[in-house]
């Protein structure tokens, strides 16, 4: 749909095959994490309230997501010049990436509880059981609304990452394929296991995706500041696309340093570090 204008505007920023792989892996991991979270909500609603209403909520969310994707994709590629596109979506990716990285650093340093799908499922189940029964349009409204919100909220983030990564890397099909593969994997596992996917290493995946989002977000948002120059052209990084690797290593090193500095000592390590007189 937007391929013609997007090809015309993105031809100069197409990146190499390593970036294409990064793109596919990033969208796969991001979609996997978000879909696992959405699945937990859907399972909790379906198993405790009504599968029919829950699945209608999922279907309505998918329709809303398709509409959002169409509008957002068209608006981004039709209205914004190249540098402005890089600035807007790079800036948003940077904010998303740093939020994910912040949580990963706080979790790894012991300052925030690890993401636990089993605990979230139990919490959702309790809420579903205690909610009042309200029937609208022949549906259990609670399970319809909760599953709609869950799928739409998690899905919007995936759609945004897919659109922005796909457009900026000049390869929307790879970005879409990465996300679709994740959805297929999560659905297949859900059908087979019929429980929340607690074994998916969500915390590690979120850390990795956070690093990638921060890397690409830094690269594109700063490039896009060229929209304010007299010629409106993107700013040029020293080393071109290779600087992506430098940025990735930079964010990784900074996050490891922050984890080490902020680490909360565990009871065992505290005891071991105490002098005999202090015990």
């Amino acid at each position: 749909m937007w391929s013609a204008s997007y090809e015309a505007t993105r031809s100069e920023v197409t990146v190499g095959s390593s970036a294409v792989w990064s793109l596919g892996i990033a969208t796969f991991a991001a979609a996997l994490v978000e879909m696992v979270e959405a699945l937990t909500i859907v399972l909790a609603m379906g198993m405790t309230r009504s599968w029919r209403s829950t699945l209608w909520g999922v279907a309505a969310a998918l329709v809303a997501l398709a509409a959002f994707t169409t509008v957002a994709g068209y608006a981004l590629t039709s209205w914004l010049p190249e540098a402005a596109l890089q600035l807007v979506i790079g800036g948003l990716l940077l904010v998303f990436g740093l939020q994910w990285l912040r949580k990963a650093i706080l979790r790894s340093s012991g300052r925030k509880a690890l993401h636990d799908e089993a605990a979230i499922f139990a919490e959702q189940e309790t809420e579903a059981r205690s909610a009042s029964s309200q029937v609208r349009l022949g549906l259990d409204w609670f399970s319809f609304v909760v599953s709609f919100k869950g799928v739409f909220l998690e899905g919007v983030e995936v759609v945004f990452i897919v659109i922005t990564f796909g457009l900026n890397a000049g390869n929307v099909p790879v970005a879409v394929a990465g996300a679709v593969a994740a959805v297929v994997v999560v659905l297949a596992l859900a059908v087979v296991l019929r429980t929340p996917l607690t074994r998916v290493p969500e915390n590690t995946l979120k850390y990795g995706v956070g690093l990638l989002l921060a890397t690409f977000g830094t690269f594109w948002s700063i490039e896009g500041l060229g929209i304010f120059s007299s010629d409106g052209e993107s700013l040029a990084w020293a080393g071109g696309d290779l600087v992506l690797l430098v940025l990735l290593v930079g964010w990784l090193v900074l996050s490891r340093v922050l984890i080490a500095i902020l680490r909360v000592p565990t009871a065992a390590s505290r005891d071991a570090s105490l002098e005999p007189s202090e015990v």
Binding site: Q99, F228, A236, G250
Partner: protein, 72 residues
């Protein structure tokens, strides 16, 4: 009214997230960068590198403020 509030809340949560300081940090660095570019006196390679360092410094500051506050 309830719908409008919910709509705005959704976009705030989506765009700003859990910690507004992160979004503010990114916004400040990009605004400074935009000001320098508008002034016209800069070198692309130096400015991009300095702004990347600025983003890292702003993120670190936002995180440390967060940890310090929650530690009190």
């Amino acid at each position: 009214m309830r719908f409008a509030r919910g709509f705005l809340r959704f976009w705030y949560d989506f765009l700003v997230g859990d910690d507004w300081k992160i979004a503010a940090a990114v916004g400040v660095v990009l605004a400074v960068g935009a000001g320098i570019v508008l002034s016209g006196s800069y070198d692309d390679h130096v400015l991009t590198a300095l702004l990347a360092l600025g983003v890292a410094a702003a993120f670190t500051t936002a995180l440390l403020i967060d940890v310090r506050r929650s530690g009190r």
